[in-house]
């Protein structure tokens, strides 16, 4: 049953969660750092948002808090990798694990957001504006000198060293930016749900990765196709759940639709 309400839901979620493939594009494709902090950063972003909103801080301040928390988690991963010489994957996992406890301490297991604080409650237009603006800023940022140096860290570290600059420093910057995006996404998602749950970040890594892969079947660059990828993934999920069949098959259906979508794209590219 396609209705306006379902389409709106798909659009809303895909806009909010499109920051995840964007973050993953920065880490995995630009600085070539396989970052698993994403799930933890999403959790801490939503936790900080819920905490600040429930203490009646302004929406703007709460969003900033979440972005800051996300950025800090990126910094933690970067420090683990560059100063303690841990493998990128391991440092991401460690940060994510640690962030679970921190989120639990910050926001508890469950917070229902006070609806009165949220002035534009469930109004997607300003959320979309925030996301588009963030996307645009990130897009512009990657065109600056610093942005190009981030590309260089991933592709050719010797170039960075040749310019007498530290690759570790640029990896750190990349991770901080990527996870700040995730923190923002987590905050917006919590606001959209109207409640915070410690489990709301479960599966976000898969959402990010699948959206990124779908986006990459359309374009390999950092642009608004990342949003299209996210939209496609949300459509796939919605279709999966609209089947009136045994619910145990859902994940299999999702997986097959993703495979079919990518396959079609590959055929087209030939």
């Amino acid at each position: 049953m396609i209705s306006f309400f379902i389409l709106r839901g798909i659009l809303e979620r895909s806009i909010i969660l499109s920051l995840l493939p964007a973050s993953m594009h920065i880490t995995a494709r630009i600085i070539h750092f396989d970052d698993l902090t994403l799930e933890g950063a999403f959790g801490i972003g939503s936790g900080v948002m819920a905490l600040l909103l429930s203490h009646h801080y302004s929406l703007f301040f709460s969003l900033l808090g979440s972005i800051f928390a996300g950025a800090l988690s990126g910094l933690a991963t970067a420090i683990l990798h560059t100063k303690f010489y841990l493998n990128p994957l391991i440092s991401g996992i460690i940060t994510s694990t640690a962030l679970f406890s921190i989120t639990l301490k910050v926001a508890g297991a469950h917070i229902a957001l006070p609806i009165k604080t949220a002035f534009f409650y469930n109004d997607i237009s300003w959320i979309a504006l925030v996301v588009f603006l963030t996307f645009f800023l990130a897009y512009l940022f990657l065109k600056t000198e610093l942005g190009f140096l981030l590309y260089a860290v991933g592709d050719n570290q010797k170039l960075i060293i040749g310019l007498s600059k530290s690759p570790a420093q640029y990896q750190t910057i990349g991770l901080i930016i990527a996870n700040a995006l995730v923190g923002l996404s987590g905050a917006l998602f919590t606001y959209y749900l109207g409640y915070f749950s410690i489990w709301s970040n479960v599966g976000m890594l898969v959402v990010a990765l699948a959206s990124l892969i779908l986006a990459e079947s359309m374009s390999n660059k950092f642009n608004f196709f990342l949003m299209a990828g996210s939209l496609l993934y949300q459509i796939i999920i919605a279709i999966t759940y609209s089947f009136h069949i045994d619910q145990d098959w859902n994940k299999l259906i999702t997986a097959s639709i993703v495979v079919i979508c990518i396959f079609i794209q590959k055929i087209f590219k030939r």
Partner: protein, 324 residues
């Protein structure tokens, strides 16, 4: 500008996207066709069921509900959805349930499902079970009613101290990432403080940690488990380990064997009771606000005689040794 927006490539990408959208529409048409077979059945009412995750207790709540409604009226069609623990998926399901005009009533199982559905649906009646405390969700809608399954911990602890009169300390195993578990633990700690017993709290957040934590527990007279999904899933591990260590186990949810005493909700019965409300709501004889939030009575307090004798003699001998 980016190269992607040069004319030729852009057109190609545009057609690729168009093809994909076309494919999705064809697929959706097929899926509508597949779902059409259900709609042809003679149905009087349609009930949407949202389950938060696959879990024995939640499955029981669903089974009890469906069985009862089916015997009362065989012409009820059920749309069953399972979010498998994902909050994002719950949103999709809630959107679908809200926008399906055929659905007359929505049955939510466990807190996250209720939270998601109550945000979306303000008109169709929503009923719930397996929610310990609906007040934490700040629900102020008139279309919600249901049965909460809060267990009276003080009553259970009173009973336990009656059965094991020599005990003076206990351990609470709880899950800090479940709000119900934390609230239950707090009430137990309060009880211990009031009655001058020693209570130790042990937190577990994943099945892996349970074994480790159970081995840490020392010098307590019994271990008590609040109603919690994680503990319920790992119950056989918990009872087995505690049996080896000779520590009695008390639980706030029904367990088949190896626990000394349990109080708790029979989720199948809870499903049956909710079904009785549901049939009244479906016939529009009463409104959801007439029912409100009711609590399931804790009448299933059961204890294991053999274990009780065993632990009582054990406590007595320990006591004697201590006296000597």
């Amino acid at each position: 500008m980016n190269k992607i927006f040069t004319h030729k490539i852009f057109t190609r990408r545009f057609f690729q996207l168009l093809f994909l959208i076309f494919f999705l529409i064809v697929f959706y048409g097929f899926h509508k066709f597949a779902n059409g077979f259900h709609a042809k059945k003679k149905t009087e009412f349609t009930v949407g069921i949202i389950k938060t995750a696959t879990h024995p207790a939640l499955n029981e709540a669903q089974k009890g509900f469906i069985d009862t409604l089916h015997t009362i009226n065989p012409h009820i069609f059920f749309i069953e959805k399972n979010a498998e623990g994902s909050v994002a998926t719950l949103q999709i399901i809630a959107d679908e349930m809200h926008s399906d005009p055929n659905i007359n009533l929505i049955y939510t199982i466990a807190t996250p499902a209720l939270a998601a559905m109550s945000q979306k649906e303000k008109i169709k009646p929503i009923i719930f079970t397996a929610v310990t405390d609906p007040t934490i969700l700040h629900l102020n809608q008139e279309n919600i009613c249901g049965i909460s399954d809060a267990v009276d911990e003080t009553y259970l602890l009173d009973k336990t101290f009656n059965l094991l009169p020599k005990s003076h300390s206990f351990a609470i195993l709880f899950n800090p990432s479940e709000i119900n578990s934390v609230l239950s633990k707090n009430r137990m700690m309060q009880y211990a403080k009031e009655h001058d017993y020693k209570a130790h709290e042990y937190a577990v957040t994943s099945p892996l940690e349970i074994k480790v934590v159970l081995e840490q527990i020392e010098s307590v007279d019994f271990v008590i488990l609040p109603a919690d999904n994680l503990l319920a899933l790992a119950i056989s591990l918990i009872t087995e380990t505690l049996k080896q260590r000779n520590i009695p186990c008390i639980s706030c949810f029904p367990v088949e064997k190896d626990v000394l005493l349990y109080a708790g909700t029979d989720y199948y019965k809870a499903g049956e009771k909710v079904a009785a409300i549901a049939i009244i709501l479906l016939k529009k004889e009463k409104k959801p606000k007439d029912f409100g939030f009711t609590k399931l009575n804790v009448d299933t307090l059961k204890y294991n005689e053999i274990l009780l004798n065993h632990f009582n003699t054990m406590q007595k001998t320990i006591h004697k040794k201590g006296a000597l």
